[in-house]
Amino acid sequence: MTESVNPVLDFGHNRAPIYIQLSTLFRRFIVSGQWAVAQQIPTHESLAAQFEVNPATIRKAIEILEQEGLVASYRRRGTFVKAKPSPADWIAVPTDWTMAATALAGLNVLCLVSHQARNVPAPFHGDSAESHSFHYTRRLYAREKLPAVVEDSYLKTDLRRQLGGARSDGRALLTLLASDPEIAIERADESILFGIADREISALLAVPLNSPVAIVHQTIRGLSDALLCEVKAYYRGDLLRISEPIRFA
């Protein structure tokens, strides 16, 4: 690996620990094949020099990949790539309602912000909502300790109460919505856009500034088209997969 192939990384502008950012970058090297399976990776010392960090920071970053089974270190022989991340490690962006209910269900949910919304959210799809009261929640979904998705949601306040109020903040939103037979969901639309992580999102997802992310807008409506929930979620680009059938008439 040479210096010239390194992406421009802005470690300083990110509140995520540097070793987490480095492990993300190294994982990307393995995914892209830049660090090939069965090949030796550069020594900790040369990586430390290249990224201008302490060798101990490199060791911590590599340890994460070791725990994930992606690399293995051998005394005196160095560190080798064992495998690429497996499909089970991917985070699926849902493309139908069944998937929407299960996609984030297995992840750890951390509620970061939760308060009554000051405004009625502007839905991404369709007409604007009537003036009901909505609740804003920001959730972070993580696999083990690896942050994967930041989700901002506006949920109708009475619906949130029905789903368990404050308790609902610690659970996967769409899983909750889809699993309650009392809630009539008439329509759900989704738009997936691709962009880059700004300061705030990159810090939450523990990726470098300007890393690719998918921005997923979901609009969920009930009877007579009433807006129930508006979601805007950021998926880490290196973890997401959208896998779906091509439909035939």
Binding site: P7, V8, D10, H13, R28, S32, P87, P94, T95, D96, W97, A100, I185, E186, R187, A188, D189, E190, S191, I192, L193, F194, G195, I196, D198, R199, I201, L209, N210, P212, V213, A214, I215, Q218, G237, D238, L240, R241, I242, S243, E244, P245, I246, R247, F248, A249
Partner: protein, 263 residues
């Protein structure tokens, strides 16, 4: 790579703007490169007639001041609209609006065969040399596919309004090529396959991933190295389970989006 410099405008450092002026400018966010957001906004101005055909648009200086961005960023966005043929600079007369855009800038990534067949309208393509050694297509993630006896491989750079947006490699069951009597599938390989009588596309699957552009992809798509690209793998099977089509496409991430009706 979009530079952090473009992000400056959200800061509160500049306080000289009046409320009225701020209201006129759209809210720029951090989620896509600033110049892409400017392109979207400028196209809207033309579409809605706020920038009328045959009229001049505001100068670079003025636009840069209005959006609190560097002049170079405005020039980048205006350059895009020029290549698209929507506007043109006339010496001594400023920049003129030539015509309204014909379609949305976003390219939709469909999830149905009909969507694919109809998606390829108004595109231009050019064939690229096959650089990679020949290989068999990758089998789909799920389901069992039977490989065809041989495949025809096409590697193309597709453009819309002169903007390259996709580098794609496609594997087509050679029997379809033989049946139709040409190895040039034209602008849409999906429409080409539709013309076949022997093949009946009946099952398909696709996978979308976010990657970063390697040197070749960045060069072909005219984007900075390591920009985000959307990689789309597609598989299409015939009635009898033969893999008649497989493709691997790399799209500019800032010009594609996927709409899905979840329920």
């Amino acid at each position: 790579m979009s530079k952090p410099a473009a992000i400056r405008h959200s800061g509160k450092k500049r306080s000289g703007t009046t409320k009225a002026r701020r209201a006129a400018a759209p809210t720029l966010n951090h989620e896509s490169p600033i110049y892409v957001q400017l392109i979207t906004h400028f196209r809207q101005q033309i579409e809605t007639g706020k920038w009328a055909v045959n009229q001049t648009i505001p100068g670079f200086e003025e636009l840069a001041a209005q959006f609190h961005v560097a002049r170079g960023t405005v020039r980048q966005a205006i350059g895009f609209l020029q290549r698209e043929g929507l506007i043109a600079s006339r010496r001594g007369r400023g920049t003129l609006v030539l015509r309204k855009p014909e379609h949305n800038i976003w390219l939709e990534l469909p999830n149905s065969w009909q969507g694919l067949v109809h998606s390829a309208d108004s595109i231009e393509g050019e064939f690229l040399d096959l650089v990679a050694p020949m290989r068999l297509p990758v089998p789909p993630n799920s389901g069992n596919a039977v490989l065809a006896p041989s495949y025809h491989v096409v590697r193309r750079l597709l453009k819309r309004d002169a903007i390259p947006y996709l580098v794609g490699t496609s594997y087509i069951d050679r029997r379809i090529i033989d049946e139709l009597g040409t190895s040039n599938p034209g602008h849409s390989i999906y429409r080409f396959i539709e013309r076949s009588r022997r093949a009946k596309p009946s099952w398909g699957e696709q996978t979308l991933m976010l990657e970063t552009a390697d040197a070749e992809t960045a060069y072909l798509l005219q984007i900075p190295l390591h920009s985000a690209i959307v990689c789309v793998l597609r598989w299409v099977l015939d009635r009898d389970g033969t893999l008649i089509y497989q493709s691997e496409g790399r799209f500019r991430s800032d010009f594609v989006q996927a709409y899905r009706r979840l329920k």
